[in-house]
Symmetry: C2
Subunit: 311 residues, 2 copies
């Protein structure tokens, strides 16, 4: 019986690493830098070295380790093949085979957002649920879909790429992707700032937002303080995101939405604005889906990665 | 080794029944009336009687039968429990257990649209694919999602209920469900007729549609004849459906969309209008999804139901 596993979350700047027991307790965690030069050729060798060094430090043999789970930013198919990860410099290759060769242990890999969703299901805001949609509201909008306890990878690893779902027919500014009216334009931290600046320029209404920095945090702080203009911005955020989650529910009919990322730090008020519009747009069969805040923060990735090898 | 199985597709008026070998050849098919009175209490006993009679007729014993698959109109969860099927008069009960008791054979049940999707994957327009979205454009718009070869049932059996995904922010007429701008208002046979009548009333342009009956068939016939007004209607149909399928692709990233139902009888032209707008709205990771016409027609349900018991 294996007693341990590793969870690895590869980001554009750092690789987060976790050493777990198979009950899902994190026994140690640390970070190494992500070396993206030369097509990211050093990243997996660095990860392997760090894992093998940790095993030596802890006196753990390969027989004691169930495997190494990996999350990385990019489309990764069900066989562990990454199809171009721009932020890492990676092209197309099999992560699982490559890292298995380097470590001599079994490896499972998945897209970082999907893996984080698995983490939130296992030990975070989605505990006790098998059908879950995790939404990360950060610089962009990421998503991870869990169906019957498993990540929905999709045919080409693009399952759960919800940030560019179209939610507004009347948008005049283009999204980074070139389309108009993508979810990310309204529900990411960047999107909320954009909505706020647009609203501040369009009307004369007094607002605390006119007195300092405008960003997702200050907008939701102002909402909590009862600022009318900030509340209008939050309504627009909630309508766009609620509408998108209603569409997602029309496809996968989840038990729960777990909302994470920087924007979610504002807490319950974020869920309230989303849910208000979710119930407006959703098909009745999915009306009772729950909404919860993510609880693992930046550790969701290492938890989910560890879970991947224990499935 | 079992040699046979049954596929049963329960509709509001008739029950379609198929007797299959385990390679998926249909050896016999027939229909019985659906008796919906008294809460539909006769439906499953009638089905059981018909199956047992067919086995006697063919000289087949229970040992030779892998099982009975059932599709029915309503949310049916992964355990075979139906949660109210209005058209059949059914409340909440376990279809699989009930019919297993009546037949003495193993039973698997699923929502009719999901089951039909499985049929199209197995022997229809989606053959050779494991990740598929089936879309039925009939009186309403139905959907069935197959992920990794399995039906996506959803937490409460409402997976793939795509007809009420919101696709138009500027709609003034309400959908049957009470919302405004549901996919069904533009992409169902009824929806296309509605679009056509609205367009005919709004403009003076000459059109062959002013000379006869207006419905999905006459609209697409007029499109094929080069009628400018009909082509505008088809653009609106294509934009709404393409936009919805792009959102669905952002969730499940399928290999292929299989388009069926009465509207799809117009053929390739329907796919062309959908695809034009699909590629406009979709996230690049799902841009290459294929589009195909469903080929099994009204038999998709019995094929999919048979497939259910062979999984």
């Amino acid at each position: 019986m294996s007693k341990y596993c590793f969870g690895v979350d590869i980001g554009g700047t750092t690789v987060k690493m976790g050493f777990f027991n198979t009950e899902g307790e994190v026994l140690d965690k640390w970070e190494i830098p992500t070396r993206t030069e030369n097509g990211g050729e050093n990243i997996l060798p660095d990860v392997a070295k760090a894992i093998l060094a940790k095993m030596e430090e802890k006196g753990v043999s390969k027989e004691d380790v169930a495997g190494v789970g990996v999350g990385a930013p990019g489309p990764i198919d069900a066989d562990g093949v990454v199809h171009v990860a721009v932020n890492l410099g990676w092209g197309v290759f099999n992560i699982e085979e490559t890292l298995a060769k380097l470590t001599g242990m079994s490896v499972k890999a998945g897209n970082d957002a999907n893996v984080a969703a698995l983490g939130e299901m296992w030990k975070g805001g989605g505990q006790g649920h098998n059908d879950l949609v995790a939404v990360t509201l950060g610089t962009g909008v990421g998503g991870g879909i869990i169906v019957n306890g498993k990540m929905l990878t999709g045919a080409t690893g693009a399952g759960g790429e919800i940030g560019h779902i179209h939610v507004d027919d009347n948008e005049s500014e283009a999204c980074n992707c070139g389309n108009y009216g993508c979810l990310e334009q309204y529900a990411s931290a960047t999107g909320i700032t954009r909505l706020a600046n647009r609203m501040l320029a369009a009307v004369d209404t007094d607002s605390v937002l006119r007195q300092g920095e405008v960003n997702a945090k200050t907008v939701f702080d102002a909402v909590k303080a009862g600022d009318a203009l900030a509340m209008e911005i939050a309504e627009e955020f909630g309508e766009c995101l609620g509408k998108a989650l209603a569409a997602i529910a029309g496809v996968v009919n989840p038990e729960i939405f777990v909302i994470g990322g920087g924007v979610s730090k504002a807490g319950q008020v974020v869920l309230d604005y989303i849910r208000k519009y979710y119930v407006k747009y959703v098909f009745h069969g999915s009306r009772d889906a729950e909404f919860a805040l993510a609880t693992l923060g930046n550790d969701a990735g290492i938890f989910g990665a560890a879970r991947l090898v224990l499935e």
